[in-house]
Amino acid sequence: MATACEPDLTFGRLVQERCQEPILGCYYCQKCTAGCPVAFAMDYKPAQVLRLVQLGQKDLVLGSTAIWMCVGCEACGTRCPNRIRLAPMFDTLRYMALEGGYKPEPAVYWLHRSFLDSIRLWGRVHEMSMLAQYKTHNLLGKDFIADMKVALYLFVKGKILSLPERVHRLAEVRRLYKRQAAAEVES
């Protein structure tokens, strides 16, 4: 695990403004960590991530695997005595990590990327082609055998062989992917 470094004193405020959650008000009761279903798989637990953000430890936070493990189940935000939703904070930290060139957790990143590419292509998610793209980036993930069993089950039950269903006015969906590029050019 990396060690703490010189704090970036603007980091906490930046994250708070961007995710619009009152994260600087956290008094570290750790209820979020206690109820988090994926905390066991995180290098820093949810409350620790929040604390590191407050302390300006930008590199530790944006380089952590924890920010890629949050599934957005909102248990933490529902229970926080300070009414802080951590899921939007984790989203924001992922955006900042990608913008800052920090290395994402590959399996999680490529699944989401492949999913969004599938929507751009068809307007809806087509599981077969989405999974094919994902597997080219992450062929032998953890529990490969278990994955294959599930794939076989879906195949046998006729649940994954359908042709893509596509949106008719696809240009309307694809235009949404260009909004940000357009906004950047304007500014």
């Binding site: 279903p37 994926v38 066991f40 798989a41 493990m69 599934v71 957005g72 189940c73 909102e74 248990a75 935000g77 529902t78 939703r85 899921a87 989203d91 924001t92 992922r94 955006y95 990608l98 957790e105 399996a107 999680v108 490529w110 699944l111 989401h112 990327r113 999913f115 969004l116 929507i119 307007g123 809806r124 998610v125 087509h126 599981e127 999974l131 994902y134 992450n138 993930g141 953890k142 529990d143 278990a146 994955d147 599930v150 089950y153 879906l154 039950k157 006729g158 649940k159 994954i160 359908s162 269903e165 949106v167 008719h168 006015r169 309307e172 969906v173 949404l176 992917y177 909004r179 940000q180």
Partner: protein
């Protein structure tokens, strides 16, 4: 009752039996589902994970399409439901954003349609009353662990359900069917969702814990309201084999609707042996 139906991407694939049973049950109850014209994917957990703008614009396109009909939107998938609801809420609360979206999509937001989950619609008191009168084969003796999962009831600021920690709506539906909803502590614990594809080890651990908790509570099966919850429970329990049915399948079974056998044959953990043992299937 008429609704704009937003079926979502999984309804004709991995959640096939959810779609089929939803159609049959709604028809029997006189709930008319009119498919939202040319709907697109809501972005699910991938949009908000990587791209904040898309996580609002994708579902906003659907909200804009639904405006014309002035009907409430009904989604069977909790992710579709939560993201559409969040997009709709932002249009209601953030005026600058609403103007931007109106200009982008060329529509005028009237705020007339609300976004609702299928379980919410099918557990309204008048629907339950009608359901009771349509039950032909009560699910007597069947112990059901109602599994709501995460984003169906959370965050409460957006979804506004009865109780985000101990919701009751699915339990009330099970009671109306004559089944016995069990008390258990994991009804809103997350199954790991899309991690099934990126980190199966995490989902196996969570699915196993849910299976063991349901077994400890004495449940014969899970009732689910989400395609991802269902497939994760169906395929990722390591130490138990508790069938996971959609709540609509159980409704169809109790109402004696045609097609039930086809739905039940689509599961990885076959629910038919348990149902036969309880005398609920021939």
């Amino acid at each position: 009752m008429k609704y704009a139906y937003f079926p979502g991407c999984t309804i004709s694939t991995t959640a096939l039996e959810f779609g089929l049973s939803t159609d049959a049950v709604c028809q029997a109850l006189g709930v008319e589902l009119i498919e939202l014209e040319d709907w697109n994917c809501c972005g699910a957990s991938s949009a908000h994970s990587l791209d904040h703008d898309l996580s609002y614009t994708l579902p906003t396109r659907n909200v804009a399409i639904a405006q014309k009909g002035e009907l409430d939107i009904v989604a069977p998938c909790p992710a579709c439901y939560q993201h559409t609801l969040a997009a709709d809420l932002r249009l209601r609360q953030d005026e600058a954003w609403r103007r931007e979206m109106e200009a982008h999509f060329g529509f005028s937001y009237n705020g007339k349609g609300r976004t609702r989950h299928l379980l919410e619609v099918l557990s309204e008191p008048d629907v339950l009353k009608q359901l009771r009168s349509l039950v032909k084969r009560p699910l007597a003796g069947l112990k059901v662990a109602s599994y709501y999962g995460c984003v169906l009831v959370r965050p409460p600021q957006i979804t506004g359900w009865d109780d985000p920690e101990n919701p009751q709506r699915m339990d009330r539906v099970m009671e109306a069917l004559g089944a016995e909803p069990v008390d258990w502590s994991y009804k809103v614990d997350c199954c790991g969702a899309s991690m099934a594809l990126s980190r199966a080890d995490i989902v196996i651990r969570l699915g196993t814990r849910l299976g063991e908790a349901a077994k400890e509570a004495g449940a014969d099966m899970f009732a689910c309201a989400c395609g991802i919850c269902q497939i994760n429970l169906d395929t990722r329990q390591a130490t138990t084999k508790i069938p996971a049915l959609y709540f609509t399948e159980l409704m169809g079974l109790a109402m004696g609707l045609p097609g039930v056998n086809k739905w039940l044959s689509k599961h990885a953990i076959d629910p038919r042996p348990v149902l036969r043992a309880r005398g609920l299937l021939p």
